[in-house]
Point group: C3
Chain length 284, copies 3
């Protein structure tokens, strides 16, 4: 897709004020800072918003969820995501235009939920243009040597089509969407994640609990494995008595289980991925 | 307090280059980044200085102490603080002008020591103007949907009086000031906090130890519960022998107990809140 | 070295867009933010890139290694490093010009490997000019009151020679360089550090393994204490089978041991400082 001439016709030439950055690099080493430095050298005017760097090492699904839930609140940006257990292998690097933003990272599904949150992919390029990379490229640190340099060049105004070869949108790797469905009077889903407060986020969207006919103050039956408990569905966990388990709609629009002033994940023993079903205590 | 017309007369119209931000949100999720994104959209020119996001969940007192001890070193700013176990309940959100700054957060005492550090509140407004918020407002994430958007609008030049209804300064919730008093030749206080180095910060101000007649190099008797130990009062813990317990004036002007190259909190078993009394080894 | 007149002739008058910052202050307190605030007041136009603040308390060697491995990717900057177990004692504070940057911190060896990475020191000054400090100076927080204020003044254009008295480059404290040598067909070194992924970074440079005649795919014998194991030398750990121990050249150009999707440090029980020897499985 690169043109022999310097003239590029593009439907999407723009520069960005912002980069966002999410990885599993941790905060104890200089990995994140090296990428910040690379961004500052190439796109000195761009601000970098760090989403988190504490995704569990290699947990692509968790990275995808945090990115997708955060991206609606970020400014238009080049979003760089690196949770990349396959770094240095055949998996592709990609830059994907979606809505007002560009997403850059490994093509392993990490970007897919965020692309959905932006209304779907408009255009995608495999990162094959080494002119935008830092050389020599370390086989184990593409965040520093490929993803961030490419993203910073794009933020600074380099045309997206110069990132590499255009690829078919249907070929982008996607993660299976988290389950949220209503069947036989039950909303089914799984544990998406556990936050710092021990709140257990389910993949079940608030609308599905609405379809069960459960309103604020109503009891909700939670089934998981062989266990079953009935908890109030409340507007906010702070309304609950200390120690009480409640269900509420969290800030991402998903049903979460919480213990006011306590740790629901610990108390319920619900790890990410666990299957959960919700129903009205008295089916309406 | 909102005017029907667009014309606002105010004693304090200003924009700010900086926001500061302290929460108990942790660094593993996208919560902090969502707030940064909101700030970048509303006040793109403002820098955000993160104070810490590792306040223990719901520990209002700890958040208040860190904010108050840090704010003297920050530039004039809109300071956003969210340690908010009552989020979504009746507790008010407020914006308070104090000295060269504005503080925004829940009215639960979190802001009170920082307001004192800024010389006291000049004007306070309850956050009732929904025009400045992000909608829909999540009942559990006012940091993203109320506090940060309001703060960013204020940083960008929106008049403080537009934040909502002016309230009586006497109605602001305040935390009881940490104890520091001298009585019967003893300085009394409590453990304020324990830092990363295991240094135990007391609420006792350096001047009170001065009033006991204890100078550098003199022995200081530390009483806590039934225990009593005598430690040297030194200028800096680095001057002590490795493993030696010492007392010194810390960087916030408070008496702290430290073990050079060790962890005083662990060694002394002193948790936050523990009552402590100090006296001269030989009363002068 | 300070001039009585206001006229200063200097070989290196410049201002910097960037500061970088590495400490052992941790992220739970307001220490880092106080320094950011000081920088923002003195050099409002400078961006601060945080390298890490999670160096283990007092671990000068670890701080030196992270700084030296990160600095090549940072823009020209005033780099502030504070891992300073001797704070408040006789150890000097210094500002050192090296290549396109200035390094500021305690003269305890912390800066030395980064100075080497920048091609060596050109000029060094002891921080004796209190006009650039924040007063009163806390004896335990020179990061806030001396190092960062001096660095911010230098970033804002203050001439380096105004930092204090020029000192002899030979008097700068240096850490012994990490061992990497080839002897009797073995590359010798030690464990430099362990990263978040459990990868064990050795002090042995990739070129030394090349000198052993070991190429990608060849087996490498790893000897440490009484243990010996043979692992493949690969281009990237992601190429290995899950659970397999491999050796590879890491992103800093050093030999590292890794377990794909596992924790090599834990599995091998290799702490920083442990002596390690590498050799070809069949000497070539």
């Amino acid at each position: 897709m690169r043109r022999a001439s310097g003239v590029v016709r593009s439907p999407f030439v723009a520069s960005f004020d912002s980069l966002s950055f999410i990885t599993d690099y941790g905060l104890e080493d200089g990995f994140v800072a090296a990428c910040h430095g690379v961004a500052a050298r190439i796109a000195p005017a761009a601000r970098v918003i760090d989403i988190t760097h504490l995704v569990q090492p290699g947990d692509v699904r968790r990275g995808a969820a945090v990115l997708a839930q955060t991206i609606p609140y970020l400014p238009p940006a080049v979003h760089v995501a690196v949770v990349d257990p396959g770094v240095g292998t055949a998996r592709r690097g990609v830059a994907v235009k979606a809505g007002d933003s560009i997403l850059v990272g490994p093509d392993n599904g990490l970007l897919s939920w965020a692309i959905d949150a932006k209304g779907g992919a408009d255009q995608a390029f495999q990162l094959t243009n080494g002119d935008l990379w830092l050389h020599p490229v370390s086989p184990t640190f593409h965040g520093r040597d490929i993803f961030m340099p490419v993203a910073a060049h794009l933020a600074a105004g380099t045309d997206l089509s110069l990132a590499g070869d255009e690829i078919d949108l249907a070929d982008l790797v996607t993660l299976p969407a988290p389950t949220s469905r209503v069947r036989d009077g039950e909303a089914e889903g799984e544990v998406m994640s556990v936050d710092r407060f021990g709140n257990v986020q389910l993949s079940i969207v608030a609308a599905d609990v609405g379809r069960l006919g459960v309103g604020f103050g109503s009891p909700l039956v939670v089934r998981t494995g062989r266990r079953q408990l009935t908890v109030p569905f409340v507007e906010t966990f702070a309304a609950a008595a200390p120690g009480e388990i409640v269900a509420f709609t969290d800030s991402a629009g998903l049903i979460s289980l919480a213990v006011n002033a306590g740790d629901a994940a610990q108390q319920l023993g619900l790890p990410p991925g666990a299957h959960v079903r919700l129903s009205a205590a008295h089916p309406s």
